[in-house]
């Protein structure tokens, strides 16, 4: 393969140049806007340097949004991994090859849905009076009302359940495929030692899959940051600010409530710095 050819240059340079321009222009411009005081309603602006950032740290709603985002990440990532590993191992243990194929197909469906669709589907399902998901509760209690989306204590979990419904089932398929690629000898050996099924998975198979499982978790952490559509359709950040994540707050500051584009951009820049640093460090560690 080590022939001299112009191919790598003609194939790589244009694409990388376009990617660089398309990603760096908005990124740098986001920083520029964050240092100004632009508003949607008017075209004049001046440089205010760091004052947007200073204001942010005195803004209790911003601090709340940071906290909600952290909670959201932890809840969705942990629950997704638990559902994925649980169902993946179950499929591996009790399902015949034919059933496995059927389950795999079914479990991919939710993740293919646009988040807007998934959000609507579950918004109907969680409707306190007519929803199908709240129906068992109405049936058992004789018609009491259960409204998970409008209670601060449950709203975040209700929205998170939709995210886990989409990703947990999909990841279960991947966990199953990973289990299927493992060599059978260690499992046989553990079985000969009279290990119980759960012991085989807890001490043999899952440790063997540590690296791919960590990569999966990494992917989910990135995807969990894109929860805007779910929250926008299901709760709009409410009730109150119970489900207001950083992107939801940035959007409502910049476009719904006050049109403070620069303030929103300052928030976005902080998010960008935090995610780039965190994920770069995690990535280096995953690769090492």
């Amino acid at each position: 393969m080590r022939r001299r050819s112009s191919l790598p240059v003609t194939f790589l340079v244009p694409t990388l140049a376009i990617l660089l321009v398309l990603s760096m222009v908005p990124t740098l411009y986001a920083i520029v806007i964050a240092l100004q005081n632009r508003e949607l309603s008017s075209s004049d602006y001046s440089w205010v340097w760091l004052s947007n950032f200073i204001d942010l740290f005195a803004d209790r709603r911003f601090l709340n949004a940071v906290w909600v985002s952290v909670k959201w990440e932890i809840v969705t990532v942990v629950a997704t991994m638990m559902v994925a590993i649980g169902l993946g191992v179950l499929m591996f243990e009790v399902a015949s090859p034919r059933l496995r194929n059927i389950y795999c197909l079914l479990f991919i469906i939710p993740v293919l849905l646009p988040r807007v669709s998934a959000a609507f589907v579950w918004k109907f399902a969680y409707h306190p009076l007519y929803g199908i998901a709240t129906y068992p509760y109405r049936l058992i209690t004789g018609g009491l009302i259960f409204d998970p989306l409008s209670k601060p204590a449950t709203a975040l979990f209700a929205v998170a359940s939709v995210d886990v419904w989409q990703w947990g089932l999909f990841f279960a398929v991947i966990v199953l495929k990973l289990l299927e690629t493992l060599p059978p000898q260690p499992i046989e050996a553990a079985r000969l030692d009279h290990a119980k099924r759960w012991q085989i998975h807890a001490y043999v198979t899952l440790p063997m899959l540590k690296a791919p499982l960590i990569s999966l978790m990494f992917v989910k952490m990135i995807e969990s940051l894109r929860s805007f559509d779910l929250i926008y359709v299901m709760t709009r950040g409410g009730p109150g600010v119970a489900t207001e994540t950083l992107d939801m707050y940035a959007f409502s500051q910049g476009f719904i409530e006050s049109g403070k584009v620069s303030y929103a951009s300052a928030m976005a820049v902080l998010m960008m710095i935090a995610t780039v640093i965190t994920f770069t460090m995690l990535w280096k560690r995953v690769q090492a």
Binding site: L7, T15, L22, L112, S117, F120, Y135, V233, D247, M272
Partner: protein, 270 residues
Amino acid sequence: MRPGRLIGKIILAFAGFMAVFPLAWTAVNSLKNNVDIITRVPRLVFTPTFDNISYIIGRDSVMTGLYNSVISCGVAVLIGVMLGLPAAYAVARYPNRFAGDIQFFVLSLRFLPPVAVAIPLMVIWLQIGLYDTLPALIVTYSLLTISVIMWLAIPAFQAVPKEIEEAAFLDGYGAYSVFWRIALPVAARSLIGAVAFSFVLVWNEFLIALMLSSSNAKTLPIVASELSQQGMNVPWGILNASVVLLSLPPLLFLGVLSGFLNSVFRQKKT
């Protein structure tokens, strides 16, 4: 072991039911009149109506949204294929010292919070007068499609046996014709999966479309989300029908994507 297996099977069957039932219920509701939806006890027997579906299909805003979605996603995926596939092949087959950095750069585009991209782009498109147009959406989506296609196509090209390409070189093929006639066809199955995946991603995209369009360039997800804000009298049946319409295109790729997953994990085995 017996009762354990039975419980396991029941849990699995329940999970399978949960995977499809909510969507199936939405599809059923799209065939109901409002009176049949707004009931305290879910109604299974009803006279189906196609009013909701014909209302959705007959609405101009929905058709414009569908058109905008098809054009912007289709063109962005096409650009992603034309730029992403060759670049992925170059990274996979002509290793250089930047290969690792290039892969990390492409992945890191996924870390960028969409708000951080959408706010400055909105200001930029406003300034050059392209705000709320399809070209603006297409350019923005291309960033997504190129990087996703590249990311997924690099391993697909690496899985093509080197010997086939070596043999083609010996037969006198040039570097470009090896790419066209050997690498592309051999890797085609996985590549189609990668392309389908990038299409589903941009079709499902919401935040960027919401911020970069106000009336002309609205895509289908935005139109669907707006239908829910029509005052107090919620048109439940129509909403359900629009959810079904929005979900159909990605579901068409179900078979392709599950085949793609299978081929990705089969390669790892060898």
